[in-house]
């Protein structure tokens, strides 16, 4: 237990801070969920790549910096301190990248990782299907070996939904049923596909706030080379579970994000202190306390991983904690804003980021495995309670 940064770590922090102060856009970008905003965010991804700050934990060989997890945390802290934009390529950085590094062939690593690191290709995830949300194994989209060309292509048919970034991204990844008649977790394969392939139709899903960053994807006999499959045929579930683990685990939501929100909430509270409710005052303190607790926990998990350990079902505790913290912080802000809470843009022209943040926070307990699923996992894997089909 050593909670003092080394001088190298302090120097690194100073380096990140200087770069961020110089490069983070002064004005907030438009939302990532619309075309204009997405493009602005892609520009930002390329700016990051130009400073080699895009994929800091990736090995240098793939365009990263090979930072350790403490450096990553420092980077993230400074990123959120500077008010850095959301990451358009989050799916690539935190989900697909680690998956390819773990399961990909050398050829796949070269082919996919480097352009990702340069901000050249933006990635969408395509897990869910209309009947397979929380029940991720209920996949029915098929990828069948084509007969016409020596079996070197899959032909994909089916539908995916809630595909984040898919409205605007370049490539997608997901799992498909490659064994006819297989059930549940068996016979699935993890496949990457060019979103501009013939036969793919993207139907943007209009979200409740009107933006359309998510999409449904319709696959009508889409030909995809077999070499786009990650790991073996039929191993898709294993790969997807590893990917979902990355998502729920350490890197999906770095603590800096919530600490920054907590700090803004404290500032908002101070502006409204005179007329605020007692519950809001306590909620503001709770925000700071929980964001700090989340940070400590992340540092502890990082240290554990660096010492050779791994993160297991504890990732479910993380997911529950940060998603409910985020919602509570934004709910408190909405209460503090009172009548102004409903405004998308305040009188002075500023965007009401608390409102947008509240709406976004409502998705936290739903996506990346609903919190109901996470509580099941916690109970069954950490507390060893019995599983029951209907339970």
């Amino acid at each position: 237990m050593d909670l003092v940064y080394t001088s190298e770590q302090q120097d690194f922090r100073a380096e990140v801070r200087a770069w961020m102060d110089a490069h983070v856009p002064k004005e907030p970008l438009d939302t990532l969920e619309c075309r204009v905003g997405f493009d602005e965010h892609v520009v930002w991804e390329r700016t990051l790549a130009s400073g080699n700050w895009g994929m800091v934990t990736w090995p240098e060989a793939y365009g990263g910096r090979g930072l350790d997890l403490i450096q990553w945390l420092i980077f993230e802290e400074e990123y959120f301190r500077a008010g850095g934009p959301n990451r358009a390529n989050q799916n690539g950085i935190f989900l697909l990248g680690p998956t390819i590094m773990e399961f990909g062939t050398p050829e796949q690593k070269a082919r996919f990782l480097t352009p990702m690191a340069k901000g050249e290709t933006m990635w969408a995830q395509a897990w869910s299907e209309p009947g397979a949300g929380s029940d991720m194994a209920a996949i029915s989209s098929k990828a069948v070996r084509a007969n016409d060309s020596g079996g070197d292509h899959y032909v994909i048919s089916g539908q995916k939904t809630w595909s984040s970034r898919a409205a605007f991204a370049d490539w997608g990844f997901g799992i498909f049923r490659t064994e006819d008649g297989s059930k549940r977790h068996k016979g699935l394969s993890f496949i990457l596909f060019d979103l501009n392939s013939p036969g793919i139709t993207r139907r943007p899903i209009r979200q409740l706030h009107g933006d359309t960053g998510f999409a449904e994807l319709f696959f009508d006999e889409v030909r995809v080379p077999v070499e786009n499959r990650i790991a073996g045929e039929g191993e898709g579930w294993k790969v997807a579970m590893a990917t979902a683990g990355f998502e729920r685990g350490l890197m999906l939501r770095s603590p800096g994000r919530f600490q920054a929100t907590a700090k803004r909430l404290v500032e908002l509270y101070r502006e409204h202190e005179a007329e605020a409710s007692p519950a809001a005052r306590e909620a503001v303190m709770t925000a700071w306390m929980q964001a700090q607790a989340y940070a400590y926990n992340t540092y502890a998990v990082a240290a554990k991983i660096m010492a050779g350990g791994s993160i297991g079902a504890e990732a479910s505790l993380n997911k529950i904690f940060w998603s409910e913290l985020d919602r509570a912080m934004h709910r408190t802000a909405m209460q503090l804003l009172g009548a102004a809470a409903e405004l998308r843009r305040f009188d002075d022209g500023r965007m009401n980021q608390w409102l947008e943040g509240y709406i976004f926070s409502l998705s936290g307990p739903i996506y990346a495995g609903s919190n109901e699923i996470q509580r099941n996992i916690t109970a069954e894997r950490l507390l060893d309670l019995p599983r029951v089909g209907a339970g």
Partner: protein, 310 residues
């Protein structure tokens, strides 16, 4: 002493409920949202039912009914997510204008040609006002900063808060119904999600909050009718209880709907947005809690088992 919504009142509210259910479904909300937000035909339907004159004295052509009746109708407006300014005009502005002795617009209000809505120092923005448009998350809200009439009369704020509370109850009830209906048809892991205890218990918890917000609203309306000195405290209680129930219900509803609840395609979002808007309107949570604080902790109100209706 009879804490009972009598048959006549309930019959009128039920008529309004049935009328709105038949003519003002989610498809209408979508049509309005795609168009001009308001529809003279909808307004005329409300006028035809006499609702614009609900609180207008009979001598001006109204029905001369009271705040409990109005609260029951406001609840139905919430349930239907009605965007027309019926509540702001007929249940808030009308009684306030009458309290000022201002009867000039009454006939025009009854006939539906005048739709005044009055802003307040605490609630500076109103729907369908005459000033600059504001950008509300609620697409049907037509929120404006009025250039004309504004007041700092506490009665006006109380009326706005009470009628917002009543709408919030209706909004919450509608979201509960939508969520229960969705939980019956959406299947995961081979069964309707409503069969899972996790879903059942979340919805039951929200149902409790709604159930115990309702009588607080009726009591507050009656307290205002009875002219109790304590009416503002009870109205604040109603606003806090109804807002908290609606916000809790909205969070539960979107959780039960899962990713579908996050889309424009599912109806839920209209009700959530109205709930977010009304829970902050006509006095923030903090504002109303402060009035309760002064009464309960500050000693402004007699409390205890023998003071139920103080």
């Amino acid at each position: 002493m009879e804490f009972l919504l009598n048959e006549d009142r309930l019959a009128l509210a039920e008529t309004v409920r049935d009328y709105l259910a038949g003519t003002h479904g989610p498809d209408v909300l979508r049509r309005l949202d795609a168009g001009d937000n308001r529809d003279p035909a909808i307004w005329q339907g409300l006028v035809n039912m006499g609702l614009t004159g609900l609180l207008v004295p009979e001598e001006f052509g109204g029905l001369g009914l009271g705040f409990v009746d109005a609260a029951l109708i406001a609840r139905e407006c919430g349930r239907a997510c009605l965007a027309e300014p019926l509540v702001d005009t007929a249940f808030v502005a009308v009684p306030w204008l009458l309290s000022q002795g201002d009867t000039a617009q009454m006939a025009a209000i009854v006939s539906g040609t005048a739709k005044p809505s009055v802003a307040h120092r605490i609630n500076p923005w109103v729907s369908d006002g005459d000033g600059a448009a504001l950008d509300s998350i609620d697409p049907l809200r037509n929120l404006t900063r009025p250039v004309g009439t504004s007041s700092s009369d506490p009665l006006l704020l109380d009326l706005g808060a009470l009628m917002s509370a009543a709408q919030l109850v209706g909004l919450a009830e509608a979201m509960l119904d939508q969520s229960a209906a969705y939980a019956k048809i959406r299947t995961q892991f081979g069964q309707p999600i409503g069969a899972f205890q996790a879903v059942k218990h979340q919805l039951a918890t929200a149902a409790v909050a709604i159930e115990f917000a309702k009588p607080v609203v009726w009591r507050a309306a009656q307290a205002l009718s009875d002219g109790l000195v304590s009416a503002p405290v009870h109205i604040s209680h109603a606003k806090v209880a109804a807002s908290d129930a609606a916000i809790q219900m909205a969070e539960t509803a979107i959780q039960v709907h899962g990713a579908m609840g996050y889309t424009y395609e599912v109806d839920l979002h209209f009700w959530m947005k109205r709930s977010w808007a009304l829970s902050g309107a006509w006095g923030s949570r903090a504002f109303h809690l402060k009035r309760i604080d002064d009464a309960v902790i500050g000693g402004g109100l007699e409390i205890g088992p023998d003071q139920t209706f103080a």
